[in-house]
Amino acid sequence: MNPFRDPMSSDRFDSESSGVALAGDYWRRDGKPDALGTSDRVGQPLSRLDGAQKVTGRARFAAEFSFDGMLYAALVYSTIANGRIASIDRDAVESMPGVALVMTHDNAPRLNTAPVFLRSPNGAAGDDHPIMQSDRVHWNGQPVALVLAETQEQADAAVERLEIEYRAEPAVTDFEIAKGQARAPDNVLGGPAEIALGDADSAFAAAPHRVDATYTTPRHNHNAIEPHAVTLKWSREAGTEILRIHDASQCVDLTAASLAEVFDIDAAQIHITSPFVGGGFGSKTLWQHQILAAAAARVVERPVRLALSRKGVYRVVGGRACTEQRVALGADDSGKLSALIHSGIASMTCHNNLPEPFVQATKCLYAADAIRLSIEVADMHMLANTFMRAPGESVGTFALESALDELAERLGMDPLALRERNEPAQDPISGLPFSSRHLLEAARAGAERFGWSGRAATPGSRREGEWQIGMGCATATYPYMRMPGAAARITLSAKGATIDIAAHEMGMGTATVQTQIAAARLGLPVEQVTFRYGDNMLAGAVLAGGSQQTAAIGGAVIAAHRELVTALLALVTSDSPLAGLSADDVVCRDAGLAAADDASRFADYAEILSGAGRESLSVEAAAADSEELAHWSMHSFGTIFCEVGVSEISGEVRVRRLLGSFDCGRILNPKTATSQFRGGMIMGLGLALMEETWFDARSGRIINPSLADYHVPVQMDVPEIEVMWTDIPDPHTPMGARGIGEIGITGVGAAVANAVYNASGKRIRDLPITLDKLL
């Protein structure tokens, strides 16, 4: 197999007449790979099924649903970082036109604290602050009042008139000061805060070649194109109170479970749908706006819409923590690493549970005789930091992969050769074998396509007019995961199949790809398969996060598929050509089942169902436990190549070319996958060159809460981006695929920084790489 076939060629649309066998027990040590992983039925560049809906504006988002009699909400945000609310003058505002409710801590209903993500099994919330339950203010920007009015304009006008006085108390809002009180977190993503293999400090001290540098990365804020919004209504159905929510969510089930705890009701009383999400990136979870909207709606007994403004998103929804990281590398003359130390401090609060896990990538990338990884956190009075595309890896690879580049230069080695020299045979920390690791193939193929051999070894030696030209590369990686809770329902009739699963479509193409996959598994044309998602009432609970949704859905559909085929075979009569066959003896093809070893033994689904007097058959099954992670070290990999120009006059950096060569198992749909990789890489350009939250260290206030001042790349900042992949199936995952949603952003920061160094001879260890640092 040529691993680098043209991903966009569509000449593989011909279906295999041999059909697709049921997936094996890929998760077991001696399990059978999922047959779909090598089938030509996947890997087709099907266009997004929702494309036309999106571009014609027919796709409805959370703030576009409405209920009769709906009120509009607006929030007031605190202007101090720590202290108490001394007074709020509600009276003047309550009499304003259209105002239906002014809710503050004085009159808000009693609410339980929301369970925090990764701390509680039901947790979808960003932090564990009580919500509008007392006069306490915990961060600058905390919602302190909510107004409901008949129109959005009336609500907005009312919040501006609300007079609030505060009693400020001392606050820790300066990272430089907070660092002095840094502490070890209880855990990092459920694992230890420090990992040691051998005596890395001694090994480093003894190493003949060393790099020891500090890298810093700023806070980032979420800027999904769709600001967070919720439209909701309380009602009574058959005597039971029901909360109906249109949300923008990447976790409908967890949100329902969390809200049930907050409002002391059963999760079954909450119905959340989220058919389209305008980007999540880790931010579309549970924040105060949904809870406040639901609480207010319950008080006034009317439906409510709360759509955060862009500024509101900065005040209410957490972003990426700032980090200060040390990377110390020790190597022998050949470049072999004897010591690898990656440690540092990230900003956090004591009300959430996400120490920015910047050493994640370092755990799996390089073999070193001794390794020490550690994370400390500096508690601050700020909005809880949260997950943002590749939390940890995005900023961690900036530090690690910059340091590798520095070491390569010190050794006089090609940066890619240094990485090859330290390619591990098994997981450096756990010692587990890799399920599938073809990073070097990806790196070599990328180097060839990019023209890496044209890189000048000496910095500053290539120029075009005022522009100094340089190339850089960096390794990208993101772990494979498959979280528990996934289940799927398949309903089959003569007309086709419906797959129901409480998963999410946030623009990644999930619904399209999963329709493709289900069609392939069931031997149905794509047009006869409906994939339903974004509804907590559907089967299972799948988080669209951790780049694991595709695997989680895959595992659930595999289980349900087996259940379905077993049930179908139980329906066949003794005179059927399928009589006596069991699930593992058959394949699905041509809208029916056939014996795997005898194509003439075939019956289509309609025949089987009608023969049993059934119109349809519906089964539900839960995915197998993710045992594969106990047997193998599983990660997506890639290498990012970048060429930049640096103006000698102005210090401006222009990225001229960017290429990502990835090894992420089987690519299920090259078209949507390319967009995922490319989007991640563009976000990586933002991280490298411009993204930065201006967090005023005096007040703890974010002062650039707008897309005018918080820069993300515009069209002109983005060059032609090439994306390629190995397409080597992982034998131990559903469909042979590993995650692709987050890896694109990883490595890009370092690839740009390394290219800037190669161009200009200036090593920038502080993101973003703005022109003032290059003057």
Partner: protein, 333 residues
């Protein structure tokens, strides 16, 4: 945003009358800045008088200059063939600013009167002497990467954000005004006030006075003119430093030169000291260096905007050299 009245003016005279009849009025052009400020409640007008449909023509003056109606959009002005031929610096400057959508809405007068983008000016929870005189300046010890190194005072370091105005001051533009007391005109370089102790007073406009036109005088040397803008991303960002420049030679000396700076001044900054140092000087790198230093010796920097001094020096120097080279080439051909 607070509730407000809206009136569409039929002509300048009526607009002024309407403004005189009410309290707290603002003239509305394209609204690309004013409406934003109203959303943030930085501006709280009781009434808007829409003048965006007035004065939409660009006319020739008798001397070969242009008379540009205040309501001409930025996009129309940048695309006008006469502007592109005679004053390319102006076309370039406009196209370096904002986005296509904003330029389609924004008017010439509105562009001149747009307010600073200092983040503390926009945030009503922050201290800002421009927004609330006497309340203090949070930018001075806060984020001031975009702030001024020329023309600032202890009370305000905010930059004037316009690109268009920088090109216009370099071209010796005049603004034509109409107010309750009749018509007058003044040099654009006299329109904006440096902040001093009153950063809230940004122009010399009298109450209810309306900009009705901008006049560009004939200026043959402007046919070869350039605008270079340096910013934090390739588009849709305000200038860190920008330079409008043109030069005319007289043998081996510099006959005339125009130089104006954006992103560094509290007002659109005409670099008159540099110009004066260069006019009549023999062409040399040293003459250019001396001129640049003459302008920048007045600069005062803060920790967050200190890089602008070096950046301005480099850009002014390279742009002046390039204009001299352009002028030489032009003379030879």
């Amino acid at each position: 945003m607070n509730a407000f009245d809206y009136h569409q003016a039929v002509d300048a005279e009526q607009a002024i009358e309407q403004a005189m009849r009410r309290q707290q009025t603002r003239y509305l052009g394209g609204g690309t800045n004013l409406v934003d400020l109203m959303r943030e409640t930085v501006e709280r007008p009781a009434a808007l008088i829409d003048v965006s449909t007035l004065a939409r023509e660009i006319e020739e003056t008798t001397h070969g200059g242009l008379f540009i109606g205040a309501g001409v959009t930025n996009a129309e002005l940048a695309a006008d063939p006469r502007v592109r031929m005679r004053y390319p610096v102006l076309s370039r400057a406009i196209l370096c600013g904002a986005s296509a959508q904003i330029r389609n809405m924004a008017t010439v007068a509105g562009n001149l009167l747009q307010r600073t983008r200092c983040a503390y000016f926009y945030d009503i929870a922050s201290h800002c002497n421009k927004r609330e005189p006497g309340s203090g300046c949070d930018a001075r010890e806060g984020f001031h990467r975009y702030h001024a190194i020329l023309g600032a005072s202890s009370s305000c370091i905010a930059t004037h954000p316009s690109d268009m105005a920088v090109a216009m001051v370099a071209l010796d533009a005049r603004v034509h005004l109409r107010g309750p007391d009749g018509e007058r005109s003044l040099a654009l370089s006299e329109l904006h006030r440096e902040p001093g102790e009153r950063p809230d007073l940004e122009t010399v406009l009298a109450p209810e006075e309306l900009i009705v036109a901008v006049e560009l005088p004939p200026l043959p040397m402007a046919a070869i003119s350039e605008y270079r803008k340096v910013r934090d991303r390739a588009s849709y960002a305000f200038a860190l430093v920008s330079v409008a420049s043109m030069a005319a030679l007289d043998g081996d000396t510099i006959g005339d030169v125009r130089l104006a700076l954006g992103g560094v001044g509290t007002v659109p900054w005409r670099a008159r000291r540099a110009e004066a140092a260069l006019r009549g000087a023999a062409i040399s790198e040293r003459a250019i260096d001396t001129a640049v230093e003459a302008e920048l010796e007045m600069a005062r920097t803060l920790p967050g905007n200190g890089f602008k001094l070096a950046l301005a020096r480099r850009l002014m120097t390279s742009e002046l050299k390039a204009r001299v080279a352009d002028a030489r080439e032009g003379g030879e051909s």
